[in-house]
Amino acid sequence: MTSIGTGYDLANSIYSPDGRNFQVEYAVKAVENGGTSIGIRCKDGVVLAVEKVIASKLLKPNANKRIATVDRHLGIVYSGMIPDGRHLVDRARDEARNHRDTFKSPIPTRDLANRMGGYMQAYTLYQSVRPFGVTAILGGFDSDLEQPVDGEVGSGPSCGGGGKVEGQKHGGPWLAMIEPSGTYWGYYGAATGKGRQAAKAELEKLNLAAGEITIKEAVKEAARIIYIAHDDNKDKDFELEMSWISGSDGPTKGKHVEVPSDLLAEAEGLARKAIEKDLEGDDEEEKDKMEE
C-alpha cells in the first residue's frame, strides 16, 4: 500500500489502516541519505567510524567532528540530519549527568541506550513534534574494575560497591543502534546511513560474535568498510573520522577518544590499498570472462 495521497502520512503519530506510522518511515528516509556510520564491538572495546562527505572545498579540513563524547566512557555517532543528531547528543549528555547525580557512578552503556530509545520514541507519539531524522550508534565500555563512587573520600568498606559480586565479571564493551522509532538493539557490528548495505555485508564477514577481533584490528577493518561503503560515483570526496574505547588496561584507558592520527593514517592507507586490490580483482574477473 502506498503512503502518498492517503492522508495518513501527513502527521506524526497517525496510524494508517495497516498500522504504520508513515512519518517515522519518512524520518528513516532522512537517515538513508546521510553519510555512513558504523560501530564494531570487539573483545576489548568498541570502534566507531563515520564517512563525512565533503560538500564544499571551503569547509575547514578535519574540523566539524561528527563523533561525540557523551561521558568519559561513551561515544555516539549518527547518520541523518546533523542538527537532530547534535540535539540527541546534548540529551545523551544530560542523561549521563543525571545518572551520575542520582547514582554517583557512570551510566552503563545499555542504560543510556534505553534512555535514548525512550526519548526518541516520545517524538513519535505526538502530532506536535516530528520524529528524529537520525539513527544513532552508541558505543561504550563499562568499567570492569572496582571503581570509587563519584566524590568518594577515603577507601570505604572493602566489600564491593555498586552491586558487584566478587569473582563475577562485570562491565565490558557494548554497542547499540537506535532508530528514529526509538527502537534499539545491541550489536556486534552496526551500520547506518547511505552505505549501510555494503557496510553490513562487510561487517558480517568479520564474524564479530565470536569475540576474537581486537580494537586495533577493528580500527583497520572499520576504515576499510567506510572506504568500501563510500560511493565514488555519486559522492564527492570524504573524510574518515574514527574513535575508540578500550578497557582501563587498553590503549584508551577506559576513555572514549579519537583514534590517534598515526593509527588513523595507517588504517586509511591499508583501506585504500584494499580497495585498489578489489578493483584490480574485478578487472581480472572481467578479463577472464572476456577470454572465455
Binding site: 551520575r100 566524590g151 568518594e152 573520600v153 590517534p260
Partner: protein
Amino acid sequence: MNHLPQAWGRPRDDVYGAYDASYLQTSGPKQATQQPIVTGTSVIAMKFNEGVVIAADNLASYGALARFTDVKRLRVFLDSSVVGFSGDVSDMQYLDRHLNELAIDEAYDLETAATKDTSKPSGKLNAANLHKYLQKVLYKRRSDFDPLWNQILVAGFDAASKPFLASVDLRGTAFTSPSLATGFGAALAQPIMRNYAATEEDAARLTREEAVNVVKDCMKVLFYRDARSLDKYSIAVVTKDGVELKENEQLERQSWAFAERIKGYGTQTV
C-alpha cells in the same frame, strides 16, 4: 514530678517555671546548614619558580573525634589543577562531584584527541578559571543562606601560564597570595611560609625542592599544635608537566621534646 517522655531532658517546671517552648518552632524560615559536621582541617600551599605545592592531612573529624583517617582532601582537576578543601567533608564531596561533571563537560570537545599536542594552546579550563567559577558557586550559595561550608585553595596555572594560587571561602570571599593556608594553618603555617615567600618575587626564586620542604615542615608544625590534625597527609606538586599527587605521606622525624616544656594545662600538676 512529671515523668512523661515529653518532659525528659527539660528543666523542671516546679523549679524553673513553665518551659518556654517558643524557640521550638514548628513553622518558620527554612533552616539550612548552620555549621559544618564532619570537617577537614588546614590546607596549605605555596608557589615556587615553576609551579605550586599544596598539602592537606588525611583526617576528617567529627567534632573533636578523629573519625576518618583516610580522607583525601586534595582533588585533581583535568590533570592541570589541584583543589584543596578544608571545612565540611560532605560539602567537599558535593563540590567534587560538581567539578567532576565540569571536567566531563570540558572533555566533550577539547580532549577527544588521544595524542594531545601540548605545544598548542588547548583552551581548557585553567586554575584561574576554576577559582573564579568556585567563587561564583560559593557566593551564590551564601546568598541563598545555604552556604557550602568550606574554605578552598586552588593551585595551578593562569591564562598566561604563570603559577596560580588562590583561596575562596564559604562566603565567596576570594583572594590570592604567594602562599596561602586555611583554618589553623592561617595562624601557624602562614608565618613560616612567608619567611620563604613573602612576595611573588621571593616565590619565583624558590625551587621546587625548597617549597616542598617548607610545606612539609609546616605540616609538621600543624600536627604538633592543631588537635584536629593527623600525621598522615597528601601533598601535590603542580607544574606545567601536570600534577604529581601523593596521598599517603607520613610525617617524618617528629620530635615531641618541646612538649615537655609546655606547662599550664592538661593533666600536668606541676
